[in-house]
Symmetry: C2
Subunit: 309 residues, 2 copies
């Protein structure tokens, strides 16, 4: 089960941090962008090449001290086909460097369409007997609004190819409560969804008691996260919202069990744009070493999390 | 407003049908696939080229008798980058032929990420002053589970570039009720979402009284659709589930107002795979004319719908 591999990587690095690879043009140092704009002009291709090169620097700098990365596909889809090429190459490079890759794609559709997404993101396509892996991720995120038949088509590929899911339960954004917090006979929707996620994961439980169907639970809502940790004992949490979005280590400690397992915490700009912050300027002398700031930010995040869990 | 253009195209063709361009390899006639497998081998590139060629045949055969097409991006994402190239080219070709393009992408994310999706799908990217349209759609579908701040970032591009949205309210799949039908003080979630969609669309209302923020309302749930038509008077419906999924013209008549406006009904395999059905074999003599079956299926669907609305 992929969840066992994720847990073992967390134990190995002692760091439940996942690095959000969500590049923006203004994060990328000039020594990278200049080269590609000179070669390809002011084009999506130049931006995509720069994003991939930027990600490679970050991955090289952090791959031995964190268990996983989470590229957000929207940041690449923004630049169309060229951007998506950078997404695909980033996933492959991160895997090659031993990282678990969580594709943040938040897809959702009816069963026959869900199968197509599953084929493309965690499964395979068979073309007259020749088999291809289109995008190459270990986990993907999914949106549960359509119900069970939009999620269960992914389970076959999870079992066959050792892949996993993180399904949205309670998200980190300010308006997440508008639908997710509505009360059904006294129980909020996110808890109803949480119970479904526990059930969806039953067939994918690994040796540490967690299933390969995890839940997205925002760091910005500690009370709700605490309740979800109780009602979802076999469900691993992917926790967004730490850092830039306002979630603090103290708040998200409730997502972890007493043995320190149970969750992995995402930080994106806090790590990949650390080189732009004054406090990390001393980590590198030359611009080409900017990713040392990301490395230091991962170490700082580890220490901050371990202080509380 | 794009919704006005959609309504005018519906009036012009007298046909509230949207053709779902969801190609599968087994729908595509051999005279197309043979050529590309010979040229590119059993590769995603060959499949993608065949899908685009298939779509072109369909588009050419139907572009004067329907207002819109709705490519389902999952069918293309399944084949990775090559598949997505076929998606992008399909959108551009359909627009060139005068069709309204509804990209069925069902994206959802927090505000800063929603902006990236908006840039890529209905907006523009600016690269050092040069401006690009990545994917080229008129409308896109969105999932509302994250709440207002996951939807409102798209409104700026809707107003600036004359684009629109269809947000999921009540979907057509068998398990759609699991979350969507839960009752909050007696009101189902899909109605709560419906009220939000009415509100999100306020700034985008056009001259026919409908806004450019529509709702997805499945044909398979006539009672719910009837109620939603009442509580969402300014919201145009995109209705999936007709035909192959079991929705009948009688069932979805409730989605329309007495003037025959208010909804557009999708059919995918019922149209694009019509050439495989016995009843449409007489529409074409040679395989190269297979798309005449799709044309006849659009006419039959128009007559079936107009019988009831």
């Amino acid at each position: 089960m992929i969840i066992d591999k994720l847990i073992e990587k967390i134990k190995e690095t002692g760091n439940p941090t996942v690095v959000g690879l969500d590049p923006r043009l203004n994060y990328i140092p000039e020594f990278i962008t200049k080269k590609y704009f000179a070669k390809y002009g002011n084009t999506p291709k130049a931006v995509a090449k720069a994003m991939y090169k930027f990600n490679k620097h970050i991955i090289d700098a952090i791959c031995d001290i964190v268990p996983a990365v989470k590229p957000q596909i929207a940041m690449y889809e923004r630049y169309g086909i060229e951007g998506l090429k950078a997404y695909e190459k980033t996933c492959r490079y991160a895997k090659k460097k031993g990282l678990i890759v969580i594709g943040d794609i938040k897809r959702s559709d009816i069963a026959s369409t869900a199968e197509a997404y599953s084929d493309g993101h965690i499964g395979r396509v068979d073309i007259n007997g020749e088999v291809y892996e289109s995008f190459c991720q270990d986990f993907i995120t999914l949106n549960p609004y359509l119900g069970s038949d939009s999620i269960t088509p992914f389970l076959k590929d999870c079992l066959e190819y050792e892949k996993g899911l993180f399904v949205l339960a309670k998200t980190s954004n300010p308006n997440s409560g508008e639908i997710q917090d509505l009360l059904v006979d006294g129980t909020p929707i996110y808890e109803k969804v949480g119970a479904l996620i526990e059930k969806w994961g039953e067939s994918t439980r690994g040796k540490y008691g967690f299933s390969s169907v995890g839940a997205v639970v925002g760091a910005t809502h500690p009370e709700q996260a605490k309740k979800l940790r109780e009602v979802m004992p076999h469900t691993f949490f992917l926790v967004p919202g730490y850092g830039a979005q306002g979630g603090k280590a103290e708040d998200l400690a409730v997502c972890f069990n007493s043995d320190g397992l149970g969750a992995i915490v995402n930080s994106s700009r806090g790590i990949i744009a650390a080189h732009l912050k004054d406090e990390y300027k001393s980590c590198f002398e030359n611009e080409v070493d900017f990713a040392l700031a990301a490395r230091q930010a991962c170490i700082d995040m580890k220490n901050d999390l371990r202080r509380c869990i």
